[in-house]
Subunit: 251 residues, 2 copies
DNA sequence: GTGTTTATCGTCAGGCAGACGACTATGATC
DNA sequence: GATCATAGTCGTCTGCCTGACGATAAACAC
C-alpha cells in the first residue's frame, strides 16, 4: 500500500565525499569546482544525489568511482588491492544548508593512497587535491588558491572528516589505507606525521608498529626508494583494531 | 529559483532514537510498540518524520522530549541539570528498509539517567525500558517478552548505538550522563559495569576516576543510599575527553 | 558487640611509552 | 675509493600506569 505523500515533507538526499590522501608530506582532500549556481566557481566536496534504488554506501562508492576511478576496498576481501577505504561520516540536514531546496547530505569519508590523478567528468581543471589546511583556511587568500571558503557547509564536513581520520588512525590500522599495497615502516610513519601534523620518533614508531601483532606482515622484499639504507616492505595485516592504540603526541 | 523536482527522487527523512539508561544493574533501551502496519504490534525504536523547517538535531530532541519528557543537555551549559546527552549516531538508507516507501533514517543516540518513566503519547503500555540484550536476542522467546525481533532494521540501529556507547565511555566522561546530577564513585562504577557487562575492581576504579583531572568534582556532601560506609558525592567535571582512557577489560 | 556492606588508601610487580645512543646499509660527492 | 648524508633497525633506561590484592574505615542490621 503506498503511503500518503502529504504526510511528510519531501527531501532530496545526497552523498558528499571527504576523500583524503597523503601527498608530499601533507594531508590533502579532493575538491571539485562547482559549474553551476549556487556557489558557482567555488570549490566544493564531490557528491551527488542518491538514486532511487541505491543504498547510501552504494551511492558513495559510485560517486567515488566517478570522481577518482577508485574502487572501494571490500572489508571482507583478504587481499589489499589498491581500493580505498570508505565509511559513513555523518549526516547534515540544516534546513538552510542549500538555498534551492531541502537537502539532507549523508557525508562519507574515503581514504586513498596517493597515486590517482583527479578527474571530474574528464576535466582535470575542475578537480584537484588540495592540502586540507588550505581548504579550511578562512579566506586570508595571501598566495593560496582558494580565497573563498568551500561551498555550502562543506568546510564543516571536511573538518569533521579530517578529525575522524585523525582519531581513527590512533586505534585502528586505517593508516595503511593511505599506503600502496606494499610499504615501509618509514612510509607509514610519514602518513601518521602528515595526518597528525607532528613529528614522530622513528625508533619508537618502528618498535610500536612492528611489535603490534597483526598490524604489519613482512613481504620479504626490501626497497630503497626513499634513499638511505634499504627498508623492509610490509603489507597490512589482518588486525583492524590496535590495542593498545598509537598515541598521538600532545599539542 | 526553485529546483526541478524531477531531477532527483524524493525521500522521506526520519529520526530514530536509541535512548539508553542504566537500571537495576543492566543497560536498557527505550522501546515503543507499533500501533500500525507494517510491523504492527512489534516493538521498535521511537522516532518520527523530520519536519520541513527542522534541523536533524532539533527533530531528535523533539522526539526525545515527546517520548520521555527529557530535555537535551546543552553541551555549552556548565550546570548539569538532568537533561540527557544526545548525539547523531548514523544514517540508514537501504531502499528496502521500509516496505511502504523510500525512507532515510538519521539515528541518534541519547543517554539518560534512570529516573523517567516512559510515556508514549500518554499510554504507558506502549512504551517500556527493556534490557538491550533482551531486545537484541533473536526470537528464542523463552520467557522474555519480545519473541519477535525489533521492527525494520532497528535491531541493527540499536546494536550500533550500544556499541557506540560502550566505546565512547572508554575515552570520554560520557558515563556521567547515565548518572543523576550528584553521584558516588560506586554509582559511576556500576554504570561502567552495566554498559560493559563486566565487573570492575572497586579500588582500581576509584583510583582511576578520582585521579583523572577534571573528570569528577567533589560536592562536599556524602550519601549512604547504597548502604555501607558513606560515600563522597561528585558532580561531573569539565573534562570531556579522558586521557589516558578507561580501559575496558578483555573478554 | 558482631557481622555485613561499601568506600577508601596503600603496596607491589609488570608492561609500555618517551628519550636517546649506537650501529647498519645504501647512494651521492669529492 | 674514502667520506658524507640519509634512512632504517636494534637496545637501554626511566617513569608512569594498570592489574592484583591487602588493609582499614564507617555506616547499618541484628
Amino acid at each position: 500500500m503506498p503511503y500518503d505523500p502529504s504526510a511528510f515533507p519531501p527531501f532530496a538526499v545526497t552523498v558528499d565525499l571527504v576523500v583524503l590522501t597523503v601527498r608530499t608530506h601533507s594531508l590533502c582532500a579532493l575538491a571539485v569546482r562547482r559549474g553551476e549556481s549556487p556557489f558557482q566557481g567555488r570549490w566544493a566536496l564531490p557528491g551527488g544525489f542518491v538514486r532511487a534504488d541505491e543504498d547510501l554506501a552504494q551511492a558513495a562508492a559510485r560517486e567515488l568511482a566517478e570522481e577518482t576511478g577508485l574502487s572501494v576496498h571490500d572489508p571482507a576481501a583478504p587481499a589489499q588491492d589498491n581500493g580505498a577505504h570508505l565509511e559513513q561520516l555523518a549526516t547534515y540536514g540544516d534546513p538552510e544548508r542549500d538555498p534551492r531546496m531541502r537537502v539532507v547530505s549523508v557525508a562519507h569519508l574515503a581514504l586513498a593512497p596517493d597515486l590517482p590523478a583527479p578527474r571530474a567528468g574528464g576535466d582535470a581543471s575542475n578537480a584537484r587535491w588540495a592540502p586540507v589546511e588550505e581548504l579550511l583556511r578562512q579566506g586570508d587568500g595571501r598566495d593560496g588558491e582558494p580565497v573563498a571558503p568551500l561551498a555550502f557547509d562543506h568546510a564543516q564536513i571536511l573538518s569533521d572528516g579530517v578529525e575522524r581520520a585523525r582519531s581513527k588512525i590512533e586505534y585502528s590500522s586505517l593508516a595503511t589505507a593511505f599506503c600502496p599495497p606494499e610499504f615501509t615502516v618509514g612510509e607509514l610513519r610519514r602518513v601518521y606525521e602528515a595526518v597528525w601534523g607532528v613529528a614522530l620518533d622513528p625508533r619508537n614508531f618502528h618498535r610500536k608498529v612492528t611489535g603490534t601483532p597483526g598490524f604489519l606482515v613482512p613481504t620479504g622484499g626490501t626497497t630503497t626508494r626513499q634513499g638511505g639504507r634499504p627498508a623492509q616492505l610490509f603489507r597490512a595485516g589482518g588486525a583492524t583494531l590496535l590495542n593498545p592504540p598509537m598515541l598521538r603526541p600532545e599539542v
